[in-house]
Symmetry: C2
Subunit: 646 residues, 2 copies
């Protein structure tokens, strides 16, 4: 009949960060502060004690820490996860008769009231506790009672009431049978820092060669020093597997390929093998492993593209017909979004009754490449595969390899993108690619940097990709590239470009489309990679600034500033430890110089009135101050100020 | 190793309304629409089917209804609970191969593509389903297949594809083994309409008499017609139990009572009895029951005040010493908030080891009065009793008596007030009593009318109470009373006044305090209840308007309007069925006439440009229009327009 626990009185509610009732772990970064909070309170006026119990999932023992009262019944605990992986936590709380007594007694004493009975009440509380204890704790409490009873006058009694040893014993509620309230156990996942702060460069290995030859892993390895010099730390390669011959696409996505067309790297699998094989023209497994080592030597990582789909001649189709959906004419169902058809690509059937063997095989693909040294995967179109599969896969992989990261390449509806992030993807592609106006950018950044998204969705901003050449870039040419680069690199802590087209300013679209013409997806291109461009120069500078300024290594502490011109966007960011503040001002118009006043708040990063700012992009120094500051930005010169607050 | 279910692909998330992960039921109103919603989606491009399963907790069978797609993967289901009590619901969803096929086929056909294989795919889908079925469903599907196979040309095939009987069978996913996603079961509690729309009048029965005599239930019964005439439907009485003699308080809260002082009704219990007894001077149980009957006859209800606390001479103290906390000097711990003492009141000890017998006894108090005809309880200071106790008590009572309502008299911190509402209180006292400025009122109303609060916290606005005489009233006198009355009555669907002081404009404070002097809490007062006052006149009018206009019988559909004067507040409300719209404009300044323009949006309740409004308070009619409308409000005349949009 009575189902709720009777004597407990403390309520714990609104525990944060919690995703979907705890179905998914919230995300944190190793060695960076993360705050767990809750509203905790009891009826009436009694004091309460609030603890957090926390442990890494590989630990047996819980660590117990007091939570800190903030205001309005809100309690917090901030810590820095020492390790990557899953942490478990729960909150426990008790009414605190001892401290309620201490406080009440002091208030009465200060009001000049008789505290004799109060003192005897306190002795009774301590007596009761001592009877529940053993050993030295018990002895200490009993000694305290004797001292209290024989104390000479109120002065001495008040001193005894605040005895630190007494408090230390009395404030350990777990030593007693005081009714305890406990929330359920939630999880928090800590990733290594690159999950939050990373700078990506994408290139097609097939185009890394010279003299019209098919590029190889060795060619890519030779490019690594210059890519590192530009300031990138992740080199991301489109799929490196054998490319299907059946239904192969030709140049510019032609339905029929010629004899020499190399096909799309995303049409995976041929007689040479599937997802665990290498495209022979790129090189051997030894070459691939050597590339991974070269990257590591230059403090970079290789990110591999995993596209869970098959060309019609992928070995899986014959070996595991049960993993595909078959049509009435005896062919395998190809990918489609009617009336569009993608006949060179066969999706897996995630409703297959053989789902267990399918899942295990797909997992083994990731493990295969982890074994070859890969620690970052960029997953192609994850939103066309089962969300439950990703949740399982990523957990399975990270349980063994907590340092592995996954980037979700999903350009789709908001709820699906969010679900992938909840399911475990460490980073996500975003709508940044199409957010150009001041209002669009501010609105989107506020959404990304606030709860609930900030607790699980880490953005990676891409101004361009092999699939997307936004009109802003093709219309605005070099100036537009600079604007989008500087926005991506300073709004988000992770961003990437598809090169060398980006730094070369190459931006010829297929007529009427948001796509690059003569796309490397369907043919081998060769580039004058060492041509000097202003875009590369700015790229090197901004990446160096990002490396040196921790304010730019996060995206959640961002504040937009009032500017009296809709073409100028301004914001500032401060690092978690408060030591670094950057103010960024960008002219969003690639065609005209724009001027405005930027209004700084009364206090910014603890500074008031006048202070010096150093434009790390141009090298110029200015005197700025709270209130209005004049700016003029010429996109033909530099479209932004990247100001370090001194 | 694989723990998540494999073949299912649909995700159900963000189910609303859900309170604290489903720990508490969200609240709804009997026979009023309530919308349940969720984000539901699958990977890829397949169509999905989304159902809600719902039942009253007393029913065995689940009702199944399709949910409606709104936008952005958001699905809703709106229904009107037929009964009071707990409803259970859960959402189920499936991928819908049949409709995916139908849609894909039509798109291909419209694009001029060959659909021969598609038709054969569809026949295969129907064939597979037919094999899972029995009886007439199976026969119908097989007949459809024969017709499809022998159809003469595409025209006939397309007609067959949209056969309604076919769809009816194919769209019943529960007939098959298609993997189903199901959210957990949540609860929704429907209360009768008075939980949302009620008009309260509080009076002290002790002051209902004449000629200096102690008032009785019979005196109160005689007042009912006039209270009903003023437009009230709930008559709320402070505690009616025997009043303690020990530590009894005298007039104006004097520490020592004289022989004739009646004491505070909240100091409950004496030798005549406790919470199940009546104060002898008020009358007998028969008189009380007669009062309840008189109220019902006039379409009113009696709300009883339950204060779970004891005077020192309450019989419980001797009979159940285990329910109290004892001090070192052998006395029972009285209520206190150090250094304040309330020596005439003993709280129960909710940490008592005898909590079960305590809870059962307290429950029996409510059952006792329910048995005497009471269906509404105003609970005194519930935030000083265990939240878990309330959760248990209210559920226990309402399981047997779903029409019983509870009003929480808690003026305390926000989280505690919210927790009481979550725990089951049907209505709550609010901060309205101290929200006077335009910004304060707008902010507070927005909070109350938005999620999460709107899902569980129903406000009851009180301009005054026996404990609180706000300075706004005592300073602004009659004008201020009118302003606060009209605000309370039109912002919130439930409101109440403490009379007859309110309608008489009696507002003499204890010097320097927000309290009435010569408070009825400590003495018998007698009033010229039939004196004509402007306040009573406006009260009668506004209560009649509330009765006739459904827009004012709810508080969640409220929209504040731009006004170019901070002393004038304007808002409009529309009833759920859209048939009734009221615009309210209030001058918040009790001392000066104020003028302003009120800006109406481009479309208000479907009306544009010019329309007539009828001021139901003054009887005046105006032509208003979208855009700016001039108002001038003189608080010495009428401080508000209550405009019905015609």
């Amino acid at each position: 009949m009575i189902k709720v626990p009777g004597r407990k009185r403390v309520v714990i509610t609104n525990v944060q960060p919690v995703i979907d009732e705890g179905q998914f772990p919230a995300k944190a970064i190793q060695c960076s502060p993360v705050t767990i909070s809750a509203d905790v309170f009891t009826d009436g006026h009694d004091e309460i004690l609030v603890q957090i119990w926390i442990r890494h999932s590989t630990e047996k023992r819980w660590q117990q820490h007091p939570m800190v009262f903030e205001n309005n019944d809100h309690w917090t605990y901030t810590f820095e996860p020492a390790f990557a992986g899953i942490y478990e936590f729960r909150i426990k709380a008790w009414t605190d008769a001892f401290r309620s007594w201490q406080k009440g007694l002091m208030k009465k004493w200060e009001a000049g009231m008789d505290i004799d009975v109060e003192i005897r009440n306190g002795i009774a509380i301590v007596q009761e506790r001592s009877e529940q204890l053993k050993g030295s704790n018990r002895k200490d409490l009993q000694r305290w009672i004797r001292e209290m009873e024989t104390a000479m006058g109120t002065e001495q009694q008040l001193r005894l009431i605040h005895d630190t040893q007494l408090s230390a014993i009395m404030l350990q509620p777990e030593l007693t049978d005081i009714p305890c309230t406990e929330c359920k156990t939630y999880q928090l996942e800590a990733d290594r820092q690159r999950a939050l702060f990373s700078t990506w460069y994408e290139l097609f290995p097939r185009s890394a060669g010279a003299g019209g030859k098919h590029g190889t892993f060795k060619d890519v390895a030779a490019l690594i020093p210059s890519i590192r010099h530009m300031g990138f730390d992740v080199l991301y390669l489109p799929p490196v597997h054998p490319i299907g011959r059946e239904k192969r696409k030709g140049k510019n996505n032609a339905l029929i390929a010629t004899e020499t067309d190399p096909g799309s790297p995303w049409a995976i699998g041929a007689r040479e093998g599937g997802h665990k094989s290498l495209h022979p023209e790129l090189g051997s497994m030894k070459d691939f492993k050597q590339l991974v080592k070269t990257a590591v030597k230059h403090d970079m990582e290789i990110a591999l593209d995993i596209a869970l789909q098959c060309a019609p001649d992928h070995p899986y189709v014959k070996e595991h017909p049960e993993w595909f959906r078959w049509r009435a004419d005896g062919t395998v169902q190809h990918a489609e979004n009617p009336p569009k058809k993608y006949e060179d690509i066969l999706p897996f059937d995630f409703e297959s009754e053989a789902w267990e063997s399918l899942w295990e095989e797909l997992k083994s693909i990731f493990l295969f490449w982890i074994d070859a040294g890969v620690k970052i995967f960029r997953v192609d179109n994850p939103h066309t595969k089962s969300f439950y599969f990703w949740q399982w896969l990523i957990r399975e992989i990270k349980n063994e390899h907590p340092d592995v990261l996954f980037l979700a390449e999903a350009f789709t509806r908001p709820r699906l993108m969010e679900q992938l992030a909840k399911a475990g993807f460490s980073q996500s592609y975003t709508y940044f690619t199409w957010r150009n106006t001041k209002e669009e950018i501010e609105t989107y950044m506020k959404e990304l940097s606030s709860a609930p998204l900030r607790n699980f969705f880490r953005p990676n901003f891409w101004p361009n990709t092999p699939d997307i050449l936004p009109p802003f870039l093709s219309d605005g040419k070099e100036n537009a590239h600079l604007i989008r680069l500087l926005l991506a690199a300073t709004l988000s802590s992770s961003y990437g470009i598809y090169g060398p087209l980006f730094e070369l300013g190459e931006s010829t679209p297929v007529s009427g489309k948001e796509e690059y013409t003569d796309n490397e997806k369907y043919e081998i291109r060769q580039w004058q990679r060492d041509t000097y461009t202003k875009i590369r120069e700015v790229l090197i500078r901004i990446n160096r600034i990002r490396q040196q300024h921790t304010a730019l290594q996060q995206y959640t502490d961002i504040h937009f500033l009032p500017v009296n011109n809709d073409q100028i966007l301004a914001y500032y960011k401060t690092s978690a430890d408060g030591s670094d503040t950057m103010i960024v001002v960008v002219n969003l118009d690639p065609f005209h110089p724009r001027e405005a006043t930027v209004t700084l708040p009364a206090s910014i990063a603890g500074r008031q009135y006048h202070f010096a700012v150093h434009d790390l992009l141009s090298g110029d120094r200015y005197d700025w101050h709270t209130g209005e500051n004049y700016v003029r930005l010429n996109p033909y010169d530099l479209p932004a100020h990247i100001l370090h607050l001194q």
